[in-house]
């Protein structure tokens, strides 16, 4: 699996990704006021930067994503999370564009996060890690672009929390984003979404193995809490229709009657337990607390005098906003609010609500209509940017 996938990206492509220490020249000041003396950023690139440095696309990953966009995940061995879109000749064409994806600040796949050693104490950061924001994540990504010598992205693209980062990019660094694709996202985290995150966090914190976030020092891991957090969150990524189609009320394979107990009678229970138990193998509980908090704090309008349109005033970026009809985590009205704000500043914006019954996760899945729209938008943007056409 890994050999052919990686071979497609050239002999010098390292499927494990790259890493750089940033902020050594000037500290990275976070929204909470803390200055990070330096931050390690783990990232991956695909394709080649053209001599004009005008073909870079930044992919922003979601809450539990990482920079293994089109490489097998080093811990799970699963194919990259956007392998459907990223590759030679694909929609995000690695033969034409230079794709960058970095693990977010606070993450646990190589970028500095709570499980790493705090140089000041010599111990893991744990709960001593500063509370981060989506703005902080984007600031670190901007430093990464500085490091790579890229002034302006051809495109910033991402779904869910990745879409929040895309919006933040357009608000904070408008001149550095030629085109932007925020997918299945919102300009602010809703009360309902904060509530779901709080359930997840409380599940982790209630796990005795969490140990006030110092589980690494005690050689324990709050696996049950993190698994429950994942189970609850996973429900929000799907739709009732999708869950029903997949499982209905079906009992597990070897059962033909209720057990009259609390084992996993139903297939959907077994599925969720599996989602929870595999998640803890690849994700850090404290990272989950910090990144969900960053999403909760995200409110682009609040950062601009309560008027979302102010975040985009004067923007020259070309936008393509997309939502999915059955997504109840980031429902279409959230995307519409972004579109209306962009209209209010007469921005160049396209918007489509894709009919899909797959819920929030649709942005990760094979959705032909979405891919056709996205492909057209990127082709059009490439034309306006003066990049060679497909096959040219």
């Amino acid at each position: 699996m890994s050999a052919p996938a990686s071979a497609a990206f050239g002999s010098d492509h390292n499927p494990l990704g790259l890493s750089v220490e940033l902020g050594l020249d000037r500290p990275i000041r976070l929204d909470c006021g803390v200055e990070m003396p330096s931050v390690i950023v783990a990232y991956q690139t695909y394709g080649r930067l053209n001599p004009e440095k005008s073909n870079a696309i930044l992919i922003c990953h979601a809450l539990t994503g990482d920079h293994y966009v089109a490489d097998p995940h080093p811990l799970t061995g699963k194919p990259g999370w956007w392998i459907d879109l990223v590759g030679p000749g694909k929609l995000l064409d690695t033969d034409r564009y230079f794709l960058i994806c970095s693990n977010v600040l606070g993450g646990c796949m190589g970028t500095t996060g709570p499980k790493d050693i705090n140089p000041a104490t010599g111990k893991p950061w744990g709960q001593g890690f500063p509370v981060i924001t989506v703005g902080d994540m984007v600031q670190v990504q901007a430093r990464l672009l500085d490091h790579l010598g890229i002034d302006q992205l051809f495109c910033a693209i991402g779904g869910s929390m990745g879409g929040m980062q895309v919006l933040e990019w357009c608000a904070s660094y408008p001149d550095r984003v030629f085109s932007a694709v925020p997918i299945a996202t919102a300009a602010r985290h809703s009360a309902q979404n904060i509530a779901f995150h709080e359930v997840g966090r409380q599940a982790i914190i209630a796990d005795p193995d969490w140990r006030n976030g110092e589980y690494q020092l005690h050689d324990t891991r709050p696996q049950r809490g993190l698994a429950v957090a994942r189970m609850a969150a996973h429900i929000t990524y799907l739709s009732e229709t999708a869950l029903h189609r997949k499982f209905g009320r079906n009992l597990q394979g070897d059962r033909d009657a209720f057990s009259y107990g609390f084992g996993a009678d139903f297939q959907v229970e077994s599925y969720l337990r599996h989602q929870g138990s595999t998640f803890v193998d690849r994700f850090d509980a404290n990272s989950y607390l910090y990144i969900t908090r960053a999403m909760d704090y995200f409110d682009l309008a609040a950062e601009h005098d309560g008027v979302l349109a102010n975040a985009f005033r004067g923007t020259k970026t070309r936008f393509c906003v997309a939502s999915f009809s059955s997504d109840w985590l980031f429902p279409t009205p959230e995307s519409r609010a972004v579109v209306h704000a962009l209209n209010a500043v007469a921005a160049n914006v396209s918007f489509v609500e894709i009919q899909s019954d797959k819920g929030h996760d649709a942005f990760l899945l094979d959705e032909p209509e979405f891919h056709a729209t996205l492909g057209g938008f990127i082709e059009g943007a490439a034309r306006h940017r003066g990049l060679p056409a497909r096959g040219g």
Partner: protein, 210 residues
């Protein structure tokens, strides 16, 4: 909904009339742009900075897929956000009769655009009158193709009704054109009595008075 193009990429006759009225290099919003046929033509031939609004996912998807900037939405809900004077021309082709609040739509078009180009089926056409008067049935014609129970058209008007609304709203009519069933131009003089009987659709260029 309707066939937007004839073969060879030529524009439908009424769209061609509209296209001819658009100034080269201007900013254009096409409300109800379908798959973007008019916008695409204007982009290629008149170098306009075009935007579109379209109700159907398929229409939006097809338009964006050819590189146009189109949002999924409708005239009733999505015009109010644009700032005043954002466009030189706002186009509403064959859609006014399907809006919930035509007065607000008209007002918004002339707020966000320096001028508006509007075409709509004329409910005063003699075939419509005959359908109701002689047949006693709700009219179904070439331009009004729906049965009463499945029509998206909820606010029909005649050309004279439209002229009266423009008077009430103090909207200036820069150009008024009456079109027959094939898109041929008929004379529209004076109060529009004759046009109101013989035109299948009306096409108007509007601007704010004063």
């Amino acid at each position: 909904m309707m066939m937007m193009t004839l073969n060879n990429g030529a524009l439908r006759v009424d769209l061609k009339l509209i296209a001819d009225m658009v100034e080269p290099g201007s900013r254009v919003l096409d409300v109800g742009c379908g798959e973007g046929t008019l916008l695409s033509w204007l982009g290629k031939h008149k170098n306009v900075d075009g935007r579109g609004i379209e109700l159907s996912m398929a229409g939006v998807s097809a338009a964006v897929a050819q590189g146009l900037s189109v949002i999924q939405g409708d005239a009733d809900t999505d015009l109010k956000d644009y700032p005043a004077g954002a466009f030189d021309t706002v186009i509403l082709s064959q859609t006014l009769q399907a809006t919930r609040a035509p007065m607000d739509v008209l007002g918004n078009m002339l707020r966000i655009g320096r001028r508006a180009i509007i075409s709509f089926p004329n409910f005063g056409h003699w075939r419509v009158r005959a359908g109701l008067a002689v047949g006693g049935r709700m009219p179904v014609t070439d331009t009004l193709t729906y049965e009463w129970y499945d029509t998206p058209n909820i606010h029909f008007c005649t050309i004279r009704d439209f002229l009266e609304l423009c008077r009430v709203l103090n909207i200036r009519i820069d150009t008024g054109i009456a079109l027959d069933r094939d898109g041929g131009v008929l004379p529209m003089a004076g109060t529009g009595w004759l046009a109101n009987i013989f035109a299948a659709q009306g096409l108007f260029v509007l601007s704010r008075n004063g």
